[in-house]
């Protein structure tokens, strides 16, 4: 077994290190975050860092890179107080990945990358029409990470949209059935195959 110590980490070539550490923490979710600014300019960006914060009431978090460059997702969320999280499915991974390109603010990734905006129940930001599972969130709090200037953004789930057929008897959503993909690092998309499902564990 290879041992990579602090010195070896420091000596890695920058992109190599980026790939290594983006993949080595395990599989991630693939979600498109939809936002809008006060001039109705929309933005759509793929994130692999959405994390569960709590269920009652329901909260999700995600990590934003440092705001040293313009981050449209961040400024739109701060501007309107709302955003949408939309699952990425197998049939549109290439388009979803393309939202990670650095478009100008005047160019919406919805239009540039082939996604349709969907406005539901007077919610301010657009959902992704093509997504089988979509969530509407309200911004709640943010935590600047001291070590590297990234930001943890936390929101509460206000709306959920999905076909009833994806909801199992115990409330679990069968996201494999909904064709939601997983991601390894920033570039590798994967589909999943169910192994075992266990129960609440007792000693």
């Amino acid at each position: 077994m290879l041992h990579i110590d602090k010195k070896a980490i420091d000596e890695m070539e920058s992109r190599y290190r980026g790939n290594f550490f983006n993949t080595i923490s395990g599989f991630k979710s693939a979600n498109l975050i939809g936002t809008i600014d006060k001039n109705k300019q929309t933005n759509l960006a793929i994130f692999n860092s959405v994390v569960h914060i709590g269920a009652n009431p329901p909260y999700l978090g995600f990590i934003l890179r440092p705001t040293t460059v313009e981050r449209h997702t961040y400024s739109n969320i701060k501007g309107t107080g709302f955003y949408t999280i939309n699952h990425v499915q197998e049939d549109f991974i290439e388009k979803a990945h393309q939202t990670s390109a650095k478009y100008e603010k005047a160019e919406s990734e919805f239009h540039r990358c082939g996604f349709q905006e969907e406005y539901l129940h007077s919610f301010i930001p657009p959902y992704v029409k093509q997504s089988n599972i979509k969530l509407g969130l309200k911004f709640e709090e943010e935590h600047p990470i001291k070590v590297n200037g990234t930001i943890l953004v936390i929101g509460s789930i206000q709306h959920a949209y999905l076909d009833e057929k994806y909801i199992q008897n115990d409330g679990s959503v069968d996201i494999s059935l909904a064709q939601t993909v997983a991601v390894s690092g920033l570039y590798q998309y994967l589909k999943t195959e169910k192994l075992d499902k266990f129960k609440y564990a007792k000693p």
Copy 2:
């Protein structure tokens, strides 16, 4: 498409809501976090919330539930300043899941659930011998989440252990090849199958 609004969320039965919101945010990583206290009592617990914070230098975060009940992982990390993150593989998902049971502090999940402690390069907490990919981390900072008392814990990666055959030319770790599993919610384990791998996207 079913619309679940705030009222419907509030009215969900508690376990049903737990399952619904633990699954609806997408696939998660499955990692065993290994710790030790000052009396050499070890602890091992499964987490599905490990998230990438940065690659240069490399940082990972994970979410801990509120400390209103005793959290051995948290107190051990605060006590020694170090912890290990170990991938969960297909061949030991049942044992790994069992570490989520509430054992007494005097009972180590390493022993109770059938894992072997491995001490490497004078690092204080134990790694999981059976894991194909293991990381040694140093505690860096924590962020109490206001809305529900969970805690974001951030650490820097000091050591990585894995077989060279899992490392691709660009530095990416092929965690599917290492048999690392993904999780949906708290109970469903999945294996993955690669779809496309894309490049850094440009407009």
